[in-house]
């Protein structure tokens, strides 16, 4: 272990803003991307499902 305390760790020898700004935004964007692809999947599923439903309904009518 190279750090004396948690305060030391977060301060990063005075570079805290730069180091945590890099790691934080990277983690944030990756987490957001996971949410985006999950939303896109749900959207794709409901689009396909509603189109299929529309097809079967029109078959029932004709």
């Amino acid at each position: 272990m190279i750090w004396n305390s948690w305060n030391d760790f977060w301060a990063m020898g005075g570079y805290g803003l730069y180091v945590w700004g890099s790691f934080g935004v990277t983690a944030l964007l990756m987490a957001l991307e996971v949410v985006w692809v999950k939303n896109a999947r749900a959207q794709a599923l409901s689009q396909v499902a509603s189109e299929l439903a529309a097809q079967t309904n029109s078959k029932d009518w004709s």
Partner: protein, 235 residues
């Protein structure tokens, strides 16, 4: 599967990078940005090459999956290219005294970011998927010329950006544990990119193949239809 690998390797890489690797004698603790900056930069180039590979396959053999893979990779590549510039700016400020300089390495990486954005804009502006794939494929292939320019920019021009710390021919100029942490983070981000692109391509396939029998018979689609019809009945 790839997602689990990415998570596990990230934890290991971050542990080595943040708790085990020693302080750099020149840059103090600020150098630790390397453990995200270098992996995201590598991935921004690797993903573009992967897109160019799929584009080449699609344009020569007219394979159906190629265009979808190219499209699925682009947003992830754009995010990595942005992160490369972002972490680079946060590293440049304390070390060089500037967030940004018009250096060959930085400029070519910025062009890469714009190529990704251009690819996304171009393919989503064309309604016909086959024509969109073709246009996107050509852009991906032509833009791939920029990748070696980024990689060799620090050699070809006199740049403020430092040269490569890791080279295939000369080995590494870094401490062993720093190098290990960086490589592990690189593999972790690679696995992340694979996981997310495959997840995204599944949605694209679903929409494009919506008129086929197998999509109609997919359990997830059936579950969604049930949910819709129940919701409709209540309304």
């Amino acid at each position: 599967m790839f997602g689990l690998l990415a998570t596990g390797l990230s934890v290991w890489g971050l542990w080595l990078g943040m708790f085990v690797a020693p302080t750099d004698f020149q840059q103090g603790e600020g150098y630790r940005i390397i453990f995200v900056h270098v992996p995201v930069s590598w991935m921004s180039m690797v993903i573009y090459l992967a897109m160019a590979f799929w584009a080449l396959l699609g344009l020569t053999f007219n394979t159906r999956l190629s265009g979808m893979m190219t499209k699925a990779l682009a947003p992830t590549g754009a995010i990595f290219a942005f992160l490369s510039l972002w972490t680079g700016a946060l590293w440049g400020k304390p070390m060089w005294g500037a967030w940004w300089v018009w250096d060959a390495r930085l400029t070519s990486e910025l062009i890469l970011f714009f190529l990704y954005l251009g690819h996304i804009a171009l393919t989503s502006a064309i309604d016909d998927p086959r024509r969109a794939d073709k246009a996107g494929g050509i852009l991906a292939l032509v833009g791939a010329l920029n990748v070696p320019v980024i990689y060799f920019s620090v050699k070809w021009w006199n740049t403020l950006h430092q040269g490569a710390s890791v080279s295939l021919t000369k080995g590494s100029s870094m401490a062993q544990v720093m190098l290990e942490a960086m490589l592990i983070m690189g593999i972790a981000f690679w696995m992340y990119a694979v996981a997310i692109a495959l997840y995204r391509v599944r949605s694209i396939i679903l929409v494009r193949e919506r008129h086929t029998q197998w999509v109609a018979e997919l359990p997830e689609v059936k579950a969604h239809m049930m949910k819709n019809s129940v919701g409709g009945a209540i309304a």
